[in-house]
């Protein structure tokens, strides 16, 4: 199968590596090592089963390529489900078994997917999810037998397929997939109270992979960390950075994730990628010791501010590694700017955090005012970015897409408005200064406080609720969320249980505080700073 550089796809990258390195390890998970040929076989069995109903064709509208939801977490079946969805010609929509069933059902409905692949960890949620989805679904459980009671219960609505129903991988037919089709749809927090779906095209992610493969010389001998959930776009670096290079993806189990520093050595990792919070966890648990990671050749961080002390400690722990800070929202395909950390760098002399640096090759960054006009050099403004990694937009949400993907005056290129306040210094280095809205980062997870507030109002039955990031570090990251309500009649314990039915864990307020009345600022709006000040 040959493909010109222009019609390459995400699954095409995996299939090429699998053809080149059939016997090399592709995946270590749950104590099992899968070779490329074994992983390919499992993926193609799922792909052929999905294709049994409908094969994507070139006639499909690019942005309307069908999607398959994958409910799972760090399992061979879950990874094979992602690859199987892609190899069938569909994009994938990842969701975690730790999510509330109501949120999973909402994501299925919003994606308009008609297929769901479920791994062993997702089975306990399945009945609740299926009951909450009205459109008929084909549900594939690649490593389980179908529970007859479940099949009976949903017989007139959903089709349930188990391991015995899997097609022969030989029945798989290479699909025709447009490079403009969505390779994946990821839901991020939305300020209006519901998650929004970011659709990323094959051409976007293939471009990102080309850039990182060349920059970091990714190779078959590499062993990649996998600290991210598959619902986090940074996970695509782990999965497809490895699987487009013939390298091995190493998945720590529940216990190993708690002691990431030990896992680096135990798994023989050469490539480390995580949020800076994970490195801080190592540092604070005193496991980030100088020289601890002699085998690492790459140490990459993304998702939130990387502080200079954390970067310095990691560089000392991994003396042979390149240490880089990457920056970028999901809408710009993982990361679009970077800065290399080096000890003694004069640019870091007075800095708390490592700069976000300069754009990736082919990407253009501008710092603009509210009218999208470039600000004077050295002034702060909103970061907007154009180039081949600008994603398709928000799924089924043209209004929001039009508001965030814009053409500034005098520009033909489409720029994504990041909502991040930055400054471009005379040395050509971008520095992150904060957010222009009420989004906070909690260990790299984007949380729109407006979404938390909307759910709080609905579930508490009150007119006003305020959520703030707390505690906030000097680098601007939040440790968690504190919610404020002005109604003493609210049963906080019962409210907390209801919130758990709708919000993923990282969005749950760690505290709910009742105040007599919300303080107001000079404009008559609720004074968030005054509320935050009551916490210190």
């Amino acid at each position: 199968m040959s493909a010109s550089p222009d019609d390459r796809t995400l699954h095409g990258e995996f299939l090429r590596a699998a053809a080149d390195h059939p016997e090399r390890p592709a995946l270590v998970v749950d104590g099992e090592t899968l070779s490329y040929s074994a992983l390919r076989r499992r993926a193609l069995a799922i792909a052929a089963t999905l294709q049994g109903r409908r094969v994507a064709s070139a006639d499909d509208h690019p942005a309307e390529a069908p999607l398959t939801c994958v409910l799972g977490q760090r399992s061979a079946a879950g990874f094979a489900g992602i690859l199987g969805a892609l190899c069938s010609g569909r994009g994938y929509v990842p969701m975690l078994p730790s999510y509330p069933a109501a949120r999973i059902a909402l994501m299925i409905r919003r994606s308009r997917a008609r297929e769901l692949v479920v791994d062993g960890g997702g089975l306990r949620l399945l009945a609740d999810v299926l009951a909450a989805v009205d459109a008929p679904l084909r549900v594939l459980m690649p490593d389980a037998a179908v529970d007859p009671a479940l099949r009976e219960r949903f017989a007139d609505k959903h089709t349930l397929l188990g391991a015995d129903d899997l097609a022969d991988p030989a029945a798989w037919a290479p699909p025709v997939v447009s490079r403009d089709a969505a390779a994946y749809l990821l839901f991020t927090s939305g300020s209006t109270g519901e998650p929004k779906g970011v659709a990323v095209a094959h051409r976007n992610i293939v471009r990102f992979l080309d850039v990182v493969r060349e920059r970091y010389d990714l190779r078959p001998e590499d062993r990649f960390s996998h600290m991210f959930e598959v619902t986090f776009d940074l996970s695509l670096f782990d999965l497809f950075g490895a699987w487009s290079s013939g390298a091995c993806l190493c998945c720590p189990d529940g216990k190993q994730r708690l002691l990431p520093a030990r896992y680096v050595g135990d798994a023989g990792l050469s490539v480390w990628f995580s949020v800076p919070s994970t490195a801080l966890l190592m540092k604070d648990t005193r496991t980030l010791e100088a020289g601890a990671f002699p085998g690492l050749r790459l140490a990459l961080f993304c998702g939130e501010a990387l502080t200079v002390p954390v970067a310095a400690a990691f560089a000392e722990a991994a003396p042979a590694a390149i240490v880089e800070n990457l920056y970028g929202p999901t809408e710009l395909t993982l990361a679009c700017t970077l800065y290399r950390y080096e000890a003694g760098d004069p640019a870091l002399a007075d800095a708390d955090v490592v700069p976000i640096g300069a754009p990736f090759p082919g990407m253009r960054a501008k710092v603009v005012d509210e009218a999208l006009r470039e600000v004077a050099a050295g002034d702060s403004g909103e970061l907007i970015v154009a180039g081949p990694q600008v994603a398709l937009g928000y799924w089924d949400d043209p209004a929001r897409t039009a508001a965030s993907f814009v053409r500034p005056p005098g520009e033909d290129a489409l720029f994504y408005r990041t909502g991040d306040r930055v400054r471009l210094d005379a040395d050509g280095v971008l520095r992150f200064l904060g957010r222009l809205d009420h989004q906070v980062k909690i260990r790299g997870f984007r949380v729109e406080l407006g979404e938390v507030e909307a759910v709080l109002r609905r579930e508490a039955g009150v007119d006003a609720a305020v959520a703030v990031g707390w505690p906030v570090t000097s680098s601007g990251c939040a440790g968690g969320i504190v919610a404020f309500l002005d109604d003493a009649a609210v049963d906080v314990r019962a409210l907390r249980r209801r919130l758990m039915e709708h919000l993923p864990r990282y969005m749950l307020p760690t505290q709910v505080k009742i105040v007599d009345a919300f303080p107001l600022n000079a404009n008559g709006k609720i004074d968030r700073n005054a509320l935050r000040a009551t916490l210190s």
Partner: protein, 84 residues
């Protein structure tokens, strides 16, 4: 210097701040970290909390999930530390 005694109730109170689920059904042997019930990032606060209650500084060798994964194990760990 007298070190405050760690009660089970006090420990649960400390863990509840980080819990991602209702801890109402918690038993002494419920897996806390390996089950995902409590975020790994809570380790740092737990570490500082346990140092206060053992009066000793804990090192990398103490950062073992098997020491800290259940209420029973944490209490036993604290007790063993205090005897030294």
């Amino acid at each position: 210097m007298a070190v405050p005694t760690l009660t089970k109730e006090h420990l649960i109170e400390q863990l509840e701040v980080h819990a991602r689920d209702d801890l109402g059904d918690l038993t002494d042997d419920t897996e806390l970290f390996s089950s995902g019930l409590i975020d790994s990032f809570a380790m740092v606060d737990l570490l500082l909390f346990l140092e206060k209650h053992t009066g000793t500084r804990l090192g990398p060798e103490d950062m073992d999930v098997d020491n800290l994964n259940t209420i029973a194990k944490i209490l036993a760990f604290v007790a063993s530390r205090k005897r030294r």
